[in-house]
Every structure is written in structure tokens, then in C-alpha cells.
């Protein structure tokens, strides 16, 4: 008992920060509230909201990445704002407005650089992750999409207007750019595989996808499924799919088709088609549960109230449900036992058991969109 009293005195003397509960961040996350420019700090294990952090500007279509220590989030706002949020202190640590119109970002493998992809003016800007000082400016003359990190302090991104992929190598300080031309017409998003080797770009202006082998000294575009929609009626696309939530299920990738209500299965070794699953609507995200056993799919307006779950061994839909109006995003817990779903027009984040499909909890949120758990800090491409 005496030691406790002594400990309390010691705590009182070391100051207020340390007297508070120690906050480990490994099971925390942030939910973007897109219309109000705020974030919810959430606790994945408790299934609870901890606090709301405000003042982040226009967060429509916002995304974020985490520092390697899982303390800071770098939030990429649509208004060009780059905000560094301290989730331990629960406040904004720094904020710069770096362009007029931004569309996402990435953090380098060593955590020292943050890159932001811009529509206006088109290009990528790279910032010091500590200070948010500008380190490099890479104008492209085109809207840039699909910005990801790659091993070797590299960033990879693609030009919507010109159909080129650029690889920016920052390992020697000033960026060294490798341009890969002929990627295809109107690439709308891209992903990098978790080993950092393959960069796969989805095309809006033509059927198919384009892969680039980042291990290759002189990478060339590799066309994947170049005629997947041939002979079929194209459906209107009311929302572009996202590839960030790409799914690898065993030996296969699962990706949303464009203009067709299907997900496409691709052999991860030779990039040939291995199957298709007909879906309820235009898929937006096709996300693999971390073990790869299931793929969860949400859909574009006006069919965006529904989620379908595909069993990967059989490629068949095993569960379909309607969480509510405007399902925008899904995020799995790192080992996949639960999934968090943002339901924008219900003003809720809903949490489901991925084995029983039972709803476990709801969290109130204002127009929630992206959900980002801190476990992303340790994954290439996220």
C-alpha cells in the first residue's frame, strides 16, 4: 500500500500527461466524417468512439495514412489540406493547404516522406513527415490517381489524362522519375500488391487493367483481361470503383469490373482470368477479409444500400444484406474477425461479426465515409 502512495506521488510530480491513462494505439482507428470536416477516433476492441477531432476542412473523398509508430495520421482532404493528427494527444499537430484539389496520398516505407496526389494543379507533392515542409514538387500536367508507396523509398502514381505511370524514387534525395507510357485510356485508380511488386491500374476508357512489375529495371505495361467486357452491354457507372481495397484471395486477385455488375478473378501468377462473379450492382470496393476466405463488396448509387459477401473457394455469394442507405466503406479488423461499415445516410458506423454476420454494435457518426485502422501503418500500399 505504501508503494502505491509513493507511486501516486511520483505520478503527480511527473506531470499531467503521464498521470493519465497510457493510450496504446495499435487497436485504434479514425473514421472520416466527410461533410463536417471531422474525424472520429475509435477503439476497435471496445467498439466505441473515443473523441471527435475537428477542423480538417473539406473531407469529401478524404483518405489517410499512418506513421510507422501508429501515433500520427496524415489526412488528405479534398481541398488540398494535408493535416497531421496526433491520436495520442487527440489533436491536430500540423496542417498545410498544399493545393487546390487533392485526391489522396501515401507515406514512404521508412515513414520520412508523405506524398499527396493532386487534381488541380495536376501532380504529386512530397512533404517531410515531421514538419510538413515541401521536399519535392512533381508537376504532371494531368490529374494524378492511384498514388501508392513502394519499397525503396519510391512512390508510384498514374496520369488520368495521359495514361502514363510514373515511378518516383526518393532514395537519393531529389526524385528520380521513371515514366511508363501506354498504360491505357483514362486510368481511374491503382493498387500495389502487399509485397510491393505489382502495380495494377484500372481503366475507365477501355476494358481491362494494366500491371507493372516494380521489380523490373525497365518496366513495361502488361495488359490484363483486355477484353473482359466484349459483347456485353455496358451499364452506366455512377461511381468509380476503388482499387485500394483490392483483394487477394489465395492465389487470386479479386477486382471490381467497370460498367459491368461483376467482380473479376485473376490468377496472381500469370494474370489471366480465372472467373467472374455476377454482383448486385456496380462494385465500388471488393475487399478481402485478411485471411482471404471472404470478399465483401459494396455498390455504386443507386444500389449502395447493400453488401454482398463472396466465398472465395467457390466464388459464390454466400450472404447479402442491407446495412442501410449509402454504404461507403468497409474496414476489417487486422485478423478479420470483425468488419466496420460506414453507412453515410444512416449516420452510423456498423460493426459485424464476419463469421456469423451478426451486427455487434453501432457508432453514431456524421456522414461517415472512410474507416482507417492503425494496423495500416505496417502495410505497403495503405
Amino acid at each position: 500500500m505504501k508503494w502505491l502512495a509513493t507511486a501516486l506521488v511520483a505520478l503527480a510530480m511527473t506531470g499531467s500527461v503521464h498521470a493519465q491513462t497510457i493510450l496504446a494505439t495499435g487497436d485504434l482507428g479514425l473514421v472520416v466524417e466527410r461533410a463536417s470536416g471531422s474525424l472520429l477516433l475509435v477503439d476497435q476492441s471496445e467498439r466505441k468512439m473515443l473523441t471527435r477531432i475537428t477542423g480538417l476542412g473539406d473531407l469529401s473523398h478524404a483518405s489517410l495514412v499512418y506513421s510507422p509508430d501508429q501515433r500520427y495520421a496524415y489526412v488528405f482532404g479534398r481541398d488540398g489540406g494535408l493535416t497531421k493528427v496526433d491520436i495520442v494527444e487527440r489533436k491536430i499537430a500540423n496542417r498545410v493547404v498544399q493545393s487546390g484539389n487533392a485526391i489522396g496520398g501515401a507515406i514512404s516505407d521508412d515513414g520520412s516522406l508523405v506524398a499527396v496526389s493532386n487534381y488541380e494543379p495536376g501532380g504529386v507533392r512530397i512533404f517531410n513527415a515531421d514538419t510538413l515542409d515541401l521536399v519535392a514538387d512533381i508537376p504532371t500536367g494531368s490529374k494524378t490517381i492511384g498514388l501508392v508507396d513502394a519499397p525503396g523509398k519510391r512512390f508510384v502514381f498514374t496520369l488520368w489524362d495521359d495514361g502514363e505511370t510514373w515511378i518516383a524514387d526518393l532514395s537519393a534525395g531529389a526524385p528520380k522519375i521513371t515514366k511508363v507510357k501506354g498504360v491505357g485510356t483514362n486510368p481511374y485508380d491503382a493498387l500495389v500488391t502487399d509485397d510491393g511488386r505489382l502495380y495494377i491500374t484500372g481503366l475507365f476508357g477501355e476494358d481491362g487493367l494494366t500491371a507493372i512489375d516494380l521489380w523490373d529495371e525497365n518496366p513495361e505495361p502488361i495488359r490484363v483481361l483486355p477484353e473482359y467486357g466484349r459483347g456485353q452491354q455496358e451499364m452506366p457507372v455512377y461511381k468509380m470503383p476503388h482499387l485500394e481495397g483490392w483483394a487477394r484471395a489465395g492465389r487470386e486477385f479479386v477486382l471490381p469490373a467497370v460498367g459491368h455488375h461483376q467482380v473479376l478473378w485473376i490468377n496472381a501468377d500469370d494474370l489471366t482470368e480465372t472467373g467472374r462473379t455476377e454482383t448486385y450492382g456496380q462494385p465500388v470496393f471488393a475487399m478481402s477479409r485478411p485471411d482471404g476466405r471472404q470478399v465483401w463488396v459494396n455498390f455504386a448509387h443507386p444500389l449502395n444500400d447493400t453488401i454482398q459477401v463472396i466465398d472465395t473457394p467457390s466464388k459464390e455469394i454466400i450472404h447479402e444484406f442491407k446495412p442501410g442507405p449509402a454504404v461507403l466503406h468497409m474496414e476489417f479488423t487486422p485478423r478479420g474477425h470483425e468488419v466496420w461499415v460506414s453507412v453515410r445516410d444512416a449516420g452510423k458506423v456498423m460493426i459485424y461479426d464476419t463469421h456469423t454476420f451478426e451486427k455487434l454494435a453501432e457508432i453514431d457518426a456524421e456522414s461517415p465515409s472512410g474507416i482507417f485502422f492503425t494496423s495500416r501503418a505496417h502495410k505497403t500500399g495503405l
Binding site: 487534381y119 452506366p236 457507372v237 461511381k239 468509380m240 455504386a300 448509387h301
Partner: protein, 101 residues
């Protein structure tokens, strides 16, 4: 198969016509769903800026047709399956004036 699709879309159209009939619902549709490409504030994303100054070369009729039928060869889809001509006209008015009377 296509005919079935057309019929189901037709029903969709009716259902959504009801949902969109109030000015607030139309404004919400514009910002949330047109906003998927044009940005929540309509200042542009993958799709162009569609704020009033950027659209000043359009009249209401032409802009309504763009909303209903899309623009061939671009990512702008036809919204006819999801809304009535009257609603498209209201959306065009809203986009050109920045408000809905």
C-alpha cells in the same frame, strides 16, 4: 435479359422520382452523388468543375439533356434511368443558379 433490365430500371426510376421530388433531396443528390466525381462542393474531381461560373455557357435545356443522356466518350453517365425529365431540369436550374427556387 436486357428487356428485364430495362423494366427493372424503369421501376427504379419511378421509385427514385418519388425520393428526389423535394428540393432538399435533389440538392442532396447533386452534392452526394454527382459529387462522387465532381466533388462534394462541385468544384471538380475526376469530373470537371460544375459550379455556376464553370457552366455559364449552358442553358437549362442543354444542361438537362447532359444530365439525362450523359456525354458519350467521357465518364459522364446518363441519369435518365434514375430520374424524370422534370427532375433533371430542376437539377440543371440548381447547377446554373447555385440555388433552387
Amino acid at each position: 435479359m436486357h428487356r428485364m433490365l430495362a423494366i427493372s430500371l424503369l421501376f427504379c426510376g419511378t421509385a427514385f422520382a418519388d425520393d428526389h421530388s423535394s428540393p432538399d433531396a435533389l440538392i442532396r443528390l447533386v452534392h452526394q452523388d454527382c459529387g462522387s466525381c465532381h466533388g462534394l462542393t462541385l468544384k471538380g474531381g475526376l469530373g470537371p468543375d460544375i459550379r455556376p461560373d464553370a457552366l455559364s455557357h449552358y442553358d437549362v435545356e442543354t444542361l438537362s439533356e447532359v444530365v439525362l443522356d450523359g456525354i458519350q466518350g467521357t465518364a459522364m453517365p446518363p441519369w435518365r434511368p434514375l430520374m424524370s425529365e422534370a427532375e433533371a431540369k430542376k437539377i440543371a436550374e440548381y447547377l446554373l443558379q447555385g440555388e433552387l427556387k
